[in-house]
């Protein structure tokens, strides 16, 4: 096309490409912005507002909600909210550790089995998590209620007072968390074990002779990216867990998720709930950030999660 300048043609191409991008990605980006980014931003804002008479947020802006979260209320300082926070942290730490202890040998065991069985074994681990969380937790309620064989066994061993049952309790919450998150740890660990360089492990066994040292120097470092991915996949949602402590924990087993939810039902205190949500968000982003950093340093950590 003599007469059409190079510059104009290029500009036309850029405009066409940009329009294509807008039409393809635009609706979804708009949807997520409108129905998630905006609501989350609103929630962030609520955390800095004053609690109104019906639990709804009002002006002026204040840091009251965060003070309440730290335990300062109308009646002076009380440790209730702080206990909930600490309990959330403790439950997260404990259940993540237990999940690692169970998942590590399981993931390893699957890789030692015949190749044709491995997908079936993985499926066997994952299928229970396909059922609804409420139903799974309900199953544990049935198992741990007073009068059930498990409760009576615990009673007989003198672990719990008579006629109490194993639930509601902090123990039941930990159990529920481990049960719920086990597959989340097995999958990335399995992926890491499957990629394990067998030659390196054998060389290590030759070099160090002791299996413990071979594990420490050859096996463990290679599975570390999968392990870290699993920890993030377990710890972040465990910290914000709502259903399990609500059903299995009772009043003394409450976690941050329950504290937050409580502020939004039955006209309680939206700003306080929002402040708790911000705390959860911060924990989430710290987890993701740490994951990225460690993943980059070790190489191959991110792909396991994604």
């Amino acid at each position: 096309m003599p007469g059409t300048s190079q510059h104009l043609m290029r500009r036309r191409a850029v405009v066409a490409e940009t329009r294509h991008l807008l039409f393809s990605v635009g609706p979804g980006a708009l949807w997520i912005t409108l129905f998630l980014v905006l609501p989350s931003a609103y929630l962030m804002g609520v955390a800095f507002m004053t609690n109104g008479p019906y639990g709804l947020p009002q002006m002026p802006l204040t840091l009251d909600a965060f003070e309440r979260l730290a335990g300062f209320g109308f009646l002076g300082w009380s440790p209730g909210n702080l206990y909930t926070l600490l309990r959330s942290l403790w439950q997260t730490l404990l259940s993540t550790t237990l999940v690692v202890i169970v998942a590590y040998p399981i993931a390893y065991y699957i890789t030692t089995c015949r190749e044709r069985w491995r997908p079936i074994m993985l499926l066997a681990v994952v299928v229970p998590s396909w059922t609804n969380q409420v139903i799974r937790t309900f199953g544990w309620m049935n198992l741990l209620a007073p009068g059930t064989p498990l409760s009576e066994l615990a009673e007989g061993l003198g672990l719990i007072p008579p006629n109490m049952g194993l639930y509601p309790s902090n123990f039941a919450v930990t159990l529920g968390l481990v049960y719920n998150f086990l597959p989340f740890m097995v999958l990335p660990l399995y992926a890491a074990f499957e990629k394990l360089d067998g030659a390196q492990v054998e060389a290590a066994q030759d070099l160090y002779a002791s299996p413990v040292r071979a594990f420490r120097h050859a096996v463990f470092p290679q599975t570390l990216p999968g392990l870290l991915a699993g920890i993030v996949l377990v710890a972040i949602p465990a910290f914000g867990m709502y259903v399990i402590p609500e059903l299995l924990g009772g009043g003394k087993g409450m976690m941050l998720g329950n504290l937050v939810a409580m502020q939004f039902s039955g006209g309680s205190n939206w700003p306080l709930g929002a402040a708790g949500a911000i705390l959860m968000l911060i924990a989430t982003f710290i987890g993701l950030f740490a994951m990225r950093r460690i993943g980059k340093r070790l190489g191959g950590g991110e792909e396991v999660v994604i």
Binding site: M1, P2, Q6, M9, R10, A13
Partner: protein, 377 residues
């Protein structure tokens, strides 16, 4: 196709089919490219002002190293890339801004690009279907092309059941069935093993002659280009270095790049000139008087097959003294690496039963002045 012998192929080529007759009546299209420029990003220049005429019914090859712009040129012909500047005329029609689906030009892709979700038959019929040909006619045309290209028994298979060579032929048939004005082939043989490749080179060239269609072929393999093409354009860094028949490009390379790319190793810098004699690394050599201009800084090309190792030097020939350093016995020919004046010189001798020289032998080499070519830098 594994049982295909050259004799059987020759036989098939002489049999006139319905498709042959149809092809003979069709008019092939010429291609005119004028002032094509194409850049990628800020500083990658793929084409830097290309002018080219491709004749109707010609087997034309774009030859060059990777990144020379040959594939970009082919993609501009196909409409998959728009030039920043310049025009493209095919069969008298300006196509520069016509989108690919409205061009009567089809491509055989390097990866074959067969649709994995479709059977072989549906792959072959895809172009016809998109052009709106009714199903009955499509089937007839597909059967016809399958018979023409000897693929009848593959038509009902799935694409993933085909071998590399079969895929290549299906990709070719899928483009041919649309009866385009021009067929573009983007290194279609590069993924095949050497034997199959040599066989398909011959078949492809025969097919083109039978159809009389304009073929534009892209390759980085100079042997393949020479075997198949009517004419070759050698490209480097977005510019056409030379256009000519295979013998022109091989025997009279336009510059040192073309000479090297065509596989020539005996290139020697010209240091000085006196009348019709030039001084090079391997010594003084006489050229044909007056015919070849050359200046210091140019190169002298000595084709290894024009050199003779002889005790007696024919009248008027140049002669050089050298020592055999290496000998490679190739059966039909013998390749020698000689050391002449401290420089390596390749000599290729047909194996006609003459004396075979050993490493370490001192020999005399003679070459006719007419076989010496000077090449600009």
């Amino acid at each position: 196709m594994s049982n295909r012998t050259p004799a059987a192929m020759a036989n098939a080529a002489t049999l006139a089919t319905a498709a042959d007759q149809e092809a003979a009546t069709r008019k092939a299209s010429s291609i005119e490219l004028h002032g094509l420029h194409k850049r990628f990003g800020a500083d990658t220049i793929a084409l830097d002002g290309v002018d080219l005429s491709i004749r109707a019914g010609e087997f034309f090859t774009l030859l060059g190293p990777s990144g020379c712009g040959k594939t970009t040129l082919l993609r501009i012909l196909a409409g998959l890339e728009e030039p920043d500047q310049g025009t493209l005329v095919v069969g008298g029609k300006e196509l520069t801004e016509v989108p690919p689906h409205r061009r009567s030009v089809n491509t055989v892709f390097q990866s074959y690009a067969l649709f994995p979700h479709l059977s072989v038959r549906d792959n072959l019929a895809f172009g016809l279907k998109m052009r709106g040909l009714p199903a009955g006619k499509r089937d007839a045309r597909v059967d016809e092309i399958a018979a023409f290209i000897k693929l009848g028994d593959l038509v009902e298979r799935r694409v993933d059941q085909l071998s590399g060579g079969q895929r290549q032929r299906i990709a070719l048939a899928r483009a041919l069935v649309c009866e385009p004005d021009v067929l573009l082939l983007d290194e279609p043989l590069s993924a095949l093993d050497a034997g199959l490749r040599a066989q398909l080179q011959v078949e492809l060239q025969r097919l083109q002659k039978r159809l009389g269609m304009t073929f534009v072929f892209v390759t980085h393999d100079q042997d393949e280009a020479m075997v198949m093409s009517d004419r070759i354009a050698v490209l480097d860094s977005g510019n056409i270095q030379q256009v000519g028949t295979p013998s022109e490009v091989y025997e009279r390379p336009a510059n040192a790049f073309v000479a090297r790319f065509m596989g020539h190793e005996n290139l020697f810098a010209i240091h000085a000139r006196e009348d019709d004699r030039v001084q090079t690394d391997i010594g003084w050599l006489r050229l044909v008087p007056g015919e070849q201009d050359s200046t210091p800084g140019d190169w002298l090309l000595v084709r290894p097959e024009t050199l003779e190792i002889n005790d007696t030097v024919p009248e008027g020939y140049n002669h050089l003294a050298g020592v055999v350093r290496e000998r490679l016995y190739r059966g039909s020919r013998i390749e020698y690496v000689l050391e002449v004046n401290g420089h390596a010189l390749m000599v290729v001798a047909s194996n006609l039963g003459q004396r075979v020289h050993q490493a370490g032998d001192a020999v005399t080499i003679s070459v006719c002045p007419e076989d010496l070519v000077t090449v600009v830098a």
